[in-house]
């Protein structure tokens, strides 16, 4: 390579010509500066640093307008590094979504077939799909028609479009819930706190028509009314449907919709720990094996006589 380059460009290219000369280097030295010049530059430096620190501190200061309640961390039983989601809870959470949240929120990225083997058997998922009327088409005459849902259908949207959703909710758009857990700081803790955290607005907070107070929602004024109350639905497995149970289950369900690969990911962690343990042990052994020669040799110095 080097030979080719020097043949093309001549040997000059490979010689380093840019070594700074002694005179250049000495111009960076402050040894022969006067005392006053040093003092001036020193105080300028301190001033600039101080101003920077002040600006940083001002930027970090607490602002009352940004006061916001962060959700507490809850002991979810999928929190551990190897812990799977609680699938009984996902199943109950689906019931909550279907009977409460689906009235306003879409879930465009989840299909009925995704429930199979996670929270429902194939027959149950088919029955769930058939309960919904899906718009399909166009048929031979160019018309759209309604048909019962199939496993391959995605969850239906409660509103035909965003404008209709806004019109029905005082101008606020209920976001799609498929990936909401990944899309909000605090994840499932935020969802849980948001759903259970409604309270009366403190004095001085003005709520507009159709707004409610929730300290966990940034700004406090949310356009979604409290949706979960004790016994607002009945669970098919007989679990007492308290408001916090409903919120916990729907948050687990939303965690699954946002991260359907959650369980596989944790299983993969177990496997990679196993494989890498074996590989590290092997590498260590091979290193010791190959180095035995180098480690056990002796170098002797015999001066010429």
């Amino acid at each position: 390579m080097a030979a080719t380059v020097s043949r093309i460009c001549g040997a000059g290219l490979l010689k380093s010509a840019s070594t700074p000369s002694i005179t250049q280097i000495s111009s960076y030295s402050t040894r022969d500066w006067s005392r006053s010049r040093k003092a001036l530059l020193g105080s300028l430096g301190v001033l600039a640093g101080g101003a920077g620190a002040l600006l940083f501190a001002l930027d970090k200061s607490v602002k009352a307008s940004e006061l916001e309640l962060h959700p507490p961390k809850n002991p979810w039983n999928h929190n551990g590094p190897f812990s799977s989601l609680d699938h009984a809870s996902i199943r109950r959470g689906y019931e909550v979504y279907k009977q409460v949240c689906a009235a306003c929120h879409s879930m465009r990225f989840i299909a009925y077939r995704n429930l199979v083997g996670v929270s429902h058997t194939e027959d149950e998922a088919k029955a769930e799909a058939e309960e919904q009327m899906i718009t399909d088409g166009p048929d031979e005459s160019g018309n759209f028609f309604q048909r019962p849902g199939k496993l391959s259908d995605y969850f239906p949207n409660p509103y035909p479009n965003e404008e209709a959703a806004r019109a029905a909710n005082n101008g606020a758009f209920p976001p799609d819930l498929s990936y909401i857990v990944s899309a909000r700081h605090g994840g499932e803790d935020y969802i849980f706190s948001l759903l259970t955290g409604y309270c009366d607005a403190p004095a001085g907070i003005v709520l507009r028509e159709g707004q409610y107070y929730n300290p966990y929602f940034p700004g406090g004024a949310i356009s979604m009314a409290q949706a979960l109350f004790n016994e607002v639905i009945e669970y098919s497995d007989g679990t007492p449907a308290t408001a916090s149970q409903l919120a916990k289950d729907v948050a687990t369900f939303l965690k699954w919709t946002a991260e359907p690969e959650h369980d596989d990911r944790k299983k993969m962690l177990i496997k990679s720990i196993g494989i890498f343990t074996i590989l590290i042990a092997l590498t260590y052994y091979i290193k010791r094996f190959k180095w035995t020669v180098i480690k056990s040799r002796k170098i002797e110095f015999r001066p010429k006589k």
Binding site: N77, S83, S84, H87, A88, T121, D237, D263, I270
Partner: protein, 74 residues
């Protein structure tokens, strides 16, 4: 393990056939048999490894996975 010593043995005592020597002659000596041995052992290793880690995962998450609750829901 002792591929190197095996090799030296074969030169020094060609009559003596220990277990390591037999394995060396049958498997490691030729690239073709070595490659075949790799493929075959990977098959068994991967199966046992997967079963083992799956068992571990299922034990940790006893009662939470779909396979543990699907009979209860019917």
């Amino acid at each position: 393990m002792n591929l190197l010593t095996g090799l030296q043995f074969s030169k020094q005592f060609p009559k003596k056939m220990g277990f390591q020597q037999t394995v060396y002659n049958l498997v490691f000596k030729r690239t073709s048999t070595m490659a075949l041995a790799c493929v075959a052992s990977v098959f068994f290793f991967e199966r046992t490894f997967d079963l083992g880690s799956e068992y571990f995962f299922d034990k940790i998450n006893e009662g939470k996975l779909w396979k543990h609750i699907k009979d209860k829901s019917q």
